[in-house]
Amino acid sequence: MKEMTASGNSYRIELDAFEGPLDLLLYLLRRDEIDIYDIPVAHVADQFLIYIRRARELDLDVASEYLVMAATLTKMKSKALLPKHANSGEEEVDPGAELRRQLVLYRTFRLIAEELQKSEETWTEIYTSPGERERWTSDSLEIEPGQASLLDLLEALSSLSEGEPELPSQRIQRTELTISECIGSLEHKIAPGITISFKDIIGPEPARLRIVSYFITILELMRRGWINCHQAYPFSEIELQRTERWSVDS
């Protein structure tokens, strides 16, 4: 197993080194000196699939974009091998033309990205007075008027609850509670005819993410008109009830 990983490493590194299937395709065209306007579909498809197969043999996750491209190429290849029906009435869009368009476009943007990188190289060595640097100072996490971005607002939203700052490793919890999962669990908690408080929903000593996830979920449910919120008297809990629309809409 060890040798396998070692020998396969070069493939892994190569696939990782690409910014997606278009990048890999452009690499193959360059490597095999192929004109982008005259792509030998069968050859390129085979070469592309070698990379994907190797990665899969090694049980590496292959991003879905690669798999979609592999399927497209395979289809193009088999089509190219079939005899052409010149009189088949139907005007079919040539998938090769679309792929070419994508490749040419992506190649152009990749060139621009390289230009930007050169500018970045130059301009990170130039220091202007004083604006940009203020953003790097550790104590400027607070917001300057006019500088606050929406992201600052959203980050504030995600740090709503007091308490210990999140440790990076705890952030993995985010995947454990998506908004749709929250809706799923509320579906049971806010059963028809039942009244429940926000506190009861999030439970005792909830993690910050839990609060935020459920808070956002409840906002969404209110927006959809699936729940009503009530407050019996000042300082009391916010109580939630399902409306009839929940069952109607979902």
Binding site: E134, A148, L157, E162, K199, T217, L219
Partner: protein, 192 residues
């Protein structure tokens, strides 16, 4: 009087630093002795003066920084006229976020989400014109309802309230991609 390499380095360092730089720091970053640094500072200041620049290096708060001649104070102060002072605190930002997403809402609602008293954050936001009182809730006690203002939109560079990201978009914007998570997993697995 010609500025040597050291003088130029000192100038670049002092210019670029957001805090005054001490002699010790200047020595460290340039790899020179205190005497050489003092000479470089003298040369720079003589050059600024001789050639009628309005810049000078001054010693302040235990270090050196570049300042403009005092005589230009009036001209320069025009830059800062009408500038909104102060920054929003974390508490104010959090409160802002709750109001933005659940407006109109009561203080109690905000507090039940933030889990802390929000009086002063709300007061700040009212003073800064970020929120306004938009009515009363028709429940016992008829608590005040708060909503966001135009100033709020301007502050966060939004042209329209409906440009606030939706809940699925928030996940997208704040969440992590699966590949990032995998990296963390791998990383975290070794640590434990």
């Amino acid at each position: 009087m010609i500025l040597d390499r050291l003088a130029r380095e000192v100038e670049a360092l002092i210019f670029a630093s957001e805090k005054p730089l001490s002699i010790q720091q200047l020595c460290e970053y340039t790899g020179s002795g205190e005497d050489s640094i003092h000479q470089a500072l003298d040369r720079l200041n003589r050059s600024f003066l001789d050639h009628q620049h309005c810049l000078t290096i001054i010693e302040i708060a235990g270090g050196f920084r570049i300042a403009t001649d005092r005589e230009f104070g009036d001209v320069v102060s025009q830059l800062f006229e009408g500038r909104k002072p102060g920054k929003l605190s974390r508490a104010a930002l959090e409160t802002m976020a709750v109001i933005a997403y659940s407006q109109p809402c009561t203080r109690i609602a905000i507090e039940s989400i933030r889990g802390v008293n929000c009086d002063s954050a709300i007061r700040t936001l009212l003073e800064r014109d970020m929120i306004k009182i938009s009515g009363r809730m028709e429940t016992p006690g008829r608590p005040l309802l708060y909503s966001t203002t135009m100033a709020f939109l301007e502050y966060f560079g939004l042209s329209n309230l409906d440009h606030l990201p939706r809940f699925d978009e928030i996940e997208e914007l704040l969440g992590m991609s699966s590949s990032e998570l995998e990296e963390r997993d791998l990383f975290g697995a070794g640590e434990e």
